[in-house]
């Protein structure tokens, strides 16, 4: 069968000559995800029908996932709404594999977050694992050593029996792949909501560090340079994954799509990382591109297009796991752990010595040519002859219809007040019960069950990790220069108001970085939405991108790159718009980073910022009342910036013993996390917040007003700290003290033993999934 099959395939190859001679041959472009007008455009570009290999390339590269055809017109504003000041530290902006930021001392950092949502629902373990692998290769491709990962996860309702399948698979996959790569997992998000039941979100972030001079770009520009494919062999996994999976809505009646998910081997990737870093150090690669979505189709066309050159490739020289693969399959395969290097001929010997040392397989599959044309042969027969730019960069661009959602006004009018949600202001025991109910609810409970399955120590440079507000990694062992990273997204806020929701996510990630003592400098994003073919979803997308771009301009930090994931919907039901926003911060010396919890008795506890009656879309409205309506909290980014600067100044003067951002579930959640972080007791009073801000006790505890931070300060620094806040116009109020009581007392509400609170906070996830 094998021999016969191979012979049959070899003789049945659809060449470019054949394509020119048989213009009327019917091609399965629709099944490959291309629309009628897109297919017509390909015929126009080529002046003939495409060969089946060309059709395969265009179909994957023009898919939503690779071409950003529905989002492009909105993503442009991330590059337009900027000032020269914002871009002064940007070494590489959007459009490359990942953005690169100058962090000083000759160091640069590259970071990006990417989605692997659809594969992770079909095959959670491999989907999540290869999500980590893919983003790490993006970082590696920039010339950087990957130094950390984070994951942003959204699952369905914990009580749904399918949720455990997805949670276990995804967490095991990340644990298996990330731990085996030797990259510390320093934080992330885990959210449960029924809107993600059939569309879990698995976003993966990676960050890498490099010296300025080591920057690599994905381009092939020098004629005569060798095109070398190295790493794992090419197999049948992930074929069509890009077009068939990521660009189509799940349909429960469709055929099984399991074979389209890639399979990962983290050991091969770890070896590939070390091998690439040694190749970079030896300066033997002129350009490099990882192989992820769209495999060889993407790598060849992008390298050539970016370099303004062309390529001649012999596809039969690709090392295969399965000799029966057809040329189309080889072009589309998404086999993991592969890289394409552009190597000058004079450096080939050195290249070979290094890959041989790491026992990494390679094959020379082609050569760079001056003509801007991509020629791919299968033996003697030409199967691809295209302008590379038309494949890689000149894909279709759509201005999809946009419509204000029909439900939106009713949703916004259904506020906590309009709905008449009852508040237990005068019933201390009910308020206390609500607090425990909230901090033990799946979304607010301790995430240790998940994060303890990830290695946070490897590398020896982890200065902060979960459960702290941000992750922090030392970059320079000589000076202590480091980076801080936090991500955030609140789908409930974004559903109520996608414009504000995106700004809220930005503000929270920004604040999380600021409370660690770092200065926020750059932004990445992963925009998870429903179907772009639904005008109401497109409206959400339009609003969210505008909100994020406007917000970044106000804060003065640029978007350096990101990813869009559409089609996160089952049938007509889309997920809540979930734009995950990641903020990168820089800190001159990680030794001065600020802990997120209380560790010393007798410190004063201050609340920075003011509390408003903002419970719409809050955790309180969800957990206590199962309600979602109204408008999300107001965010003042100019004030957030002032707050961050004040925290930075206080940190530099060594005034802060701890700092913890207030966000979901407000003060109540922050206080509980602060006492439990190191097991330090505290006494808190609410009456002064109520008096100054004119809010009731429910609001004082659970309002999600922005711009607030809980800090603890040693008594010797009290006067200085309060003076600093007042001078900078930051509202500051002493609301408690830490003590050795082993208890948390919130005056006029309740007193809890810390052990009891810890039990409530930490037992939830193990009970659900352990």
């Amino acid at each position: 069968m094998g021999l016969f099959g191979k012979k049959k395939i070899a003789s049945g190859v659809d060449t470019t000559t054949e394509a020119a001679n048989t213009p009327d041959k019917v091609q399965p472009y629709a099944a490959l995800g291309l629309k009628d007008d897109e297919y017509a455009r390909i015929r126009e570009i080529l002046g003939r029908r495409p060969s089946s290999s060309e059709l395969a390339m265009y179909s994957v590269m023009w898919s939503e996932h690779c071409s950003y055809k529905s989002s492009k017109i909105y993503l442009r504003q991330f590059g337009e709404k900027v000032t020269p000041e914002m871009n002064k530290n940007l070494m590489v902006g959007m459009g490359e594999n990942a953005g690169v930021v100058d962090i000083g001392e000759g160091w640069a950092v590259t970071f990006k977050v990417e989605s692997h949502n659809h594969p992770s629902y079909i095959e959670p373990f491999q989907g999540a694992a290869t999500g980590v692998g893919g983003i790490v290769r993006d970082i590696l491709t920039m010339g950087a050593r990957p130094i950390a990962v984070m994951d942003q996860l959204r699952f369905g309702e914990p009580s749904n029996p399918d949720t455990a399948r997805v949670v276990h698979g995804v967490v095991d996959g990340i644990s298996f792949y990330g731990n085996c790569l030797g990259l510390p997992n320093i934080g992330g998000e885990t959210v449960f909501d029924k809107v993600y039941q059939g569309n879990p979100l698995v976003n993966a972030l990676s960050v890498g560090a490099l010296r300025h001079e080591d920057l690599k770009l994905a381009k092939a520009s020098n004629p005569g340079d060798l095109v070398i494919l190295f790493g794992a062999r090419t197999g049948a996994d992930g074929i069509g994954g890009v077009s068939v999976l990521a660009s189509e809505t799940f349909d429960s009646t469709g055929p099984a799509k399991r074979p389209a998910v890639q399979v990962g081997d983290p050991f091969a990737e770890k070896v590939l990382i070390e091998c690439c870093l040694e190749l970079y150090a030896a300066q033997v690669v002129a350009g490099i591109q990882d192989l992820g979505g769209a495999g060889i189709s993407c790598a060849t066309s992008e390298l050539a297009s970016n370099g303004g050159a062309g390529m001649r490739v012999q596809l039969q020289d690709v090392l295969k796991r399965d000799e029966s693969l057809t040329p189309e399959e080889i072009l589309m395969s998404e086999s993991q752990e592969r890289m394409m290097g552009i190597v000058p001929k004079k450096d080939f010997k050195k290249f070979k010595a290094i890959v041989d040392k790491w026992e990494v397989e390679f094959s020379v599959i082609g050569e760079v040519i001056a003509e801007d044309r991509l020629y791919i042969n299968w033996g003697h027969e030409e199967i691809v002859n295209v302008p590379p730019r038309t494949v890689a960069h000149d894909g279709p661009v759509y201005e999809r219809p946009v419509a204000f959602p029909s439900y939106q006004d009713a949703l916004n009018n259904d506020s906590v007040h309009a709905h008449g949600l009852f508040r237990q202001n005068d019933n201390a025991s009910e308020l206390a019960a609500q607090l425990v109910q909230i901090v033990s609810s799946p979304n607010q409970a301790d995430k240790g069950y998940i994060t303890n399955q990830y290695d946070r120590y490897v590398g020896g440079n982890t200065a902060l990790a979960q459960p702290d507000d941000s992750g922090m990694i030392r970059v320079s062992e000589e000076t202590g220069l480091g980076i801080s990273l936090a991500t955030d997204a609140n789908g409930r806020y974004c559903y109520l108001d996608p414009y504000q929701g995106a700004r809220l996510a930005l503000a929270e990630a920004y604040r999380n970085v600021a409370v660690s003592g770092a200065t926020p400098v750059a932004v990445t994003n992963c925009l998870n939405f429903g179907s772009p073919e639904n005008p109401e979803v497109m409206w959400q997308f339009k609003q969210a991108t505008a909100g994020l771009a406007d917000g970044c301009l106000e804060l003065g930090i640029p978007v350096t790159g990101g990813n869009v994931s559409f089609y996160n919907q089952t049938g007509d039901v889309a997920i809540h718009p979930t734009p995950v926003v990641g903020v990168l911060g820089v800190i001159d010396d990680v030794a001065r980073r600020i802990p997120s919890g209380w560790q010393d008795a007798g410190h004063n506890i201050y609340l920075l910022g003011t509390t408003k009656d903002e419970l719409d879309g809050s955790v309180w409205s969800e957990v206590v009342h199962s309600h979602l309506g109204g408008r999300p909290p107001v965010v003042d980014l100019a004030y957030e910036k002032q707050l961050a600067e004040a925290l930075n100044a206080a940190s530099e003067q060594g005034l802060l013993a701890s700092a913890h951002d207030l966000s979901e579930a407000g003060l109540a959640q922050a206080v509980v996390e602060s006492v439990l972080r190191f097991g330090m007791g505290a006494r808190i009073w609410l009456d002064e917040i109520q008096q100054r801000d004119g809010v009731d006790r429910t609001c004082a505890l659970f309002s999600e007003s922005t711009g607030r931070v809980l800090v603890s300060v040693g008594r010797e620094d009290d006067v200085k700290f309060v003076g600093l806040c007042e001078a900078r116009g930051i509202p500051v109020l002493r609301i408690g003290v830490t003590d050795n009581s082993g208890e948390l007392e919130i005056q006029d509400v309740a007193t809890w033993q810390l052990n009891d609170l810890r039990g409530a906070h930490e037992a939830t996830l193990p009970e659900l999934f352990g």
Binding site: S175, F267, G460
Partner: protein, 231 residues
């Protein structure tokens, strides 16, 4: 004092182990799995990771690597060797230490700050600890469940070869709470927790004094340097 740190394909904590050696005042020398030359080192660390992808069995392929031939020979001649996590698995697969390490009983990878009791302080790697001292060392493994026959366990207990025992929490279902072992001579020590992750203030486990300030792991490395100086 030259201390070799072995890198197998898939080793992850080699750079951390080298840093620990430097912080303890030693000179770290990189040893390559395919090279039998030990470059005249005075001691060897087999660091953590997933050597050869943990294929077949954790540590099984690494135990057959060319560098291990030299290390096994030298260890039998008294060279101090410390196996951490995957390195412990390699020592067990090399029969330098008895027993085996299997999947954690709860089936998950676990990363935690682990309390240990030092039950032997007469080895090359533990002589700076007090007997029965409680220390906190990060632990991170998927296959750290120690197993051995009744006979072996009896011998280990009887001859005082159990060097570290888990305290409060047995994180992986190890028999007799065994976290680490020594050989009779005391030059070879293996354990699942990672002392190289508790050597530098700011990057170790939390302590009651300050966040991430735990440096109990540093004594492994100062111990071996001391034992070499005094040898």
């Amino acid at each position: 004092m030259k201390i070799g740190v072995v890198t197998f394909p898939g080793t992850l904590d080699d750079r951390d182990a080298a840093r620990a050696v430097r912080l303890a005042g030693g000179e770290a020398v990189s040893l390559w799995h395919a090279d039998t030359n030990l470059h005249k080192v005075d001691a060897v660390v087999l660091p953590g990771g997933f050597s050869y992808g943990d294929y077949l069995r954790c540590g099984a392929i690494a135990a057959q690597a060319p560098v291990m031939e030299s290390i096994i020979k030298a260890a039998n001649g008294g060279l101090p060797v410390l196996g951490i996590c995957n390195g412990f698995q390699v020592l067990v697969e090399s029969h330098l230490l008895p027993g085996g390490l299997i999947r954690n009983e709860h089936q998950h990878f676990i990363c935690r700050d682990q309390k240990l009791i030092v039950e032997s302080n007469t080895t090359a790697w533990t002589n700076e600890f007090e007997l029965n001292q409680e220390i906190t060392i990060p632990l991170k493994n998927g296959e750290g469940g120690y197993i051995a026959t009744d006979e072996t366990l009896k011998r280990l207990e009887g001859e005082g070869l159990i060097t570290f025992r888990y305290k409060e929490v047995n994180p992986n279902g190890s028999m007799n709470d065994i976290a680490g072992l020594r050989n009779e001579r005391g030059n070879v020590v293996g354990l699942m927790p990672h002392p190289e992750h508790a050597v530098e203030p700011g990057f170790g486990p939390d302590t009651t004094v300050a966040m991430r300030s735990g440096v109990d792991g540093l004594k492994f490395f100062t111990s071996v340097i001391n034992s070499l100086v005094n040898a």
